[in-house]
Amino acid sequence: MKSAVVLFPGINREHDMIRALRIATRRTPETVWHTDTELPAGVDLVVIPGGFSYGDYLRAGAIAARSPIMRAVIAAAEKGVKVLGVCNGFQILTETHLLPGALMRNLGLKFVCKTVKLSVENDSTFFTNRLNKGDILPCPVAHHDGNYYADEETLKRLEGEGRVVFRYAEGTNPNGSVNDIAGIMNERGNVIGMMPHPEDRVEALHGGTECLPLFQSIMREVVA
């Protein structure tokens, strides 16, 4: 299992992500810089971590989405390589149109930093196959622009095709996201984006390891 973590100026959650991937896959991910034009050969999974690429200038994720490495990520995704975007990574994936919709300013206008309840809505994805539909996981969020929006037609497709992977459960929607959507996938199922930070709920020091099975799901998928 070979994974790569993409770095942009202003990204700050890469260490937690690398650590979570290392714990679950027993292999240290390679890192690629935004000016690189190629991903490591034979990569199975590309992860775009959270942070504030380019200071969220223009729109969160907008500048990073147009960087040289993202052209390689888009090409890899089109070939079926798995791509996971967390927080700013999710914003970047919507800006590249690998995922539909947009992440807008939180409904309450404030930056939210707390633990929410995450409901697994689709348990047959590369990131959820070790869990069951309806499982509720505590998971931290930390964002200012996490309010998921998509037009009605797109929402209907996402819901109808089982492409909502995670929802905020039990009244914990922290940002006003439509249909309580916390994470989605593309049509092919190889690109997943989510606002919460599962990489920060995988070790005892985090207060719990409930999100570790998400990262272990990657292993089952890639080795199978």
């Binding site: 223009l58 907008a62 800006e95 919709g101 300013r105 409904l107 206008l109 309010n147 998509a150 006003g176």
Partner: protein, 80 residues
């Protein structure tokens, strides 16, 4: 020449910042204010001297970067 790009959230897309501004105006005693919506203004100095060509280029910039057409509309003004 100079291009001025006005970017606004599409009608129907909720604008919580506009709502907060409306609320603050009301708190300051300004009455008779209906819906408030907030947008962005971007100005660009261009070497191009042909207004039509400039407009075409700026339109491409909007589609590729300046606006997110999933949620935003844009208008372009060209000044010589």
């Amino acid at each position: 020449m100079k291009a001025i790009v006005k970017i606004m959230l599409r009608p129907g897309v909720l604008d919580p910042q506009g709502k907060a501004i409306a609320h603050a105006l009301s708190a300051l005693g300004f009455s008779g204010v209906g819906e408030v919506r907030q947008g962005k203004l971007i100005t660009l100095e261009l070497d191009e001297t042909d207004a039509d060509k400039a407009r075409e280029t700026v339109k491409e910039m909007c589609e590729k970067l300046l606006a997110n057409t999933v949620i935003e509309n844009y208008e372009i003004d060209i000044e010589s």
